[in-house]
Amino acid sequence: MLVFRSEAHVQRWLGDRSPGTTIPITKLAELANAWWSDRLSPDWQPHIREQNQAILDRLGLTGEFWRLG
C-alpha cells in the first residue's frame, strides 16, 4: 500500500508488475477516517467483515478487488 506523486509514477513503478488499484489520496483519507476513527475509543469492538465491507461500499470502493471475502 504505497503513496505516489501521481498516476504516471504508479505506471512507471509498476513496470511488469501486475497492477492492483489506484485511488486518489483524497479517497484514501476518507477511507482512513471511516476505517480507523474508532480505534482508540473506550467502547471499541472488533469490526465484523460486513461492517468493513459496508465502509468500502459506502465510499464507492466496489467490485471484486474490494471484496473482503
Binding site: M1, L2, F4, E7, I25, A29
Partner: protein, 146 residues
C-alpha cells in the same frame, strides 16, 4: 474475543499512546488486573483475530494504524511523532487520534519526499495517489507486505 482479551487490547492501545512504545505484559497487567503471565497469550489470540500484529518473537509489531517499529511512513500528530504501517495507516493515525496531522513519506517510484498536511480529515494537497497492489481478500495473507 473474550472480555479479558478485549481488556488487554484496550489497555495495550491506551498504553501505547500514553508511552509512545509498546507496553510490557506487566504494564498491561497493572492496568487490567489480568495476570502478567496471561498477557502474551492474549496478545497471540488478538493477533490471530487481526486485532494487533505480533512479530516472529511474539513482540508487538503493529497496533494498526500505528507501527511499533520505525517505518518510511512518519506522522506528526498531537505533538508527537508516530510511525504508520502504510499510507492508509498514515492517514489513520490522525483519524484515530481525532487531530490534524502531517504525513512524511516518499514516492515509491522516484523516492522524492511526499509531505501531506491533513486538516479536518482531508489532505490540503490532493495531487498524490495511493496504489494497493493486492486485492482485499489477500490483505491479511502477509500483512507486513500488504
Amino acid at each position: 474475543m473474550t472480555p479479558d482479551d478485549l481488556a488487554v487490547r484496550q489497555a495495550t492501545y491506551r498504553l501505547f499512546v500514553q508511552l509512545g512504545q509498546a507496553p510490557t505484559p506487566a504494564e498491561v497487567a497493572a492496568l487490567t488486573g489480568i495476570a502478567s503471565e496471561a498477557v502474551p497469550a492474549a496478545w497471540r489470540r488478538l493477533h490471530d483475530a487481526h486485532a494487533l500484529v505480533l512479530d516472529g518473537a511474539g513482540g508487538i509489531r503493529m497496533l494498526n494504524p500505528f507501527s511499533v517499529v520505525e517505518t518510511p511512513f512518519v506522522v506528526e500528530a498531537d505533538g508527537r511523532r508516530w510511525f504508520a504501517n502504510c499510507g492508509w495507516d498514515a492517514f489513520g493515525i490522525g483519524a484515530a487520534l481525532h487531530v490534524d496531522s502531517t504525513i512524511h513519506t516518499t514516492c515509491a517510484d522516484c523516492d522524492e519526499p511526499v509531505d501531506l498536511d491533513v486538516r479536518d480529515g482531508r489532505p490540503t494537497d490532493p495531487g498524490s495517489v495511493f496504489h494497493i497492489l493486492v486485492p482485499a481478500t489477500q490483505w491479511w495473507s502477509d500483512i507486513g507486505f500488504t
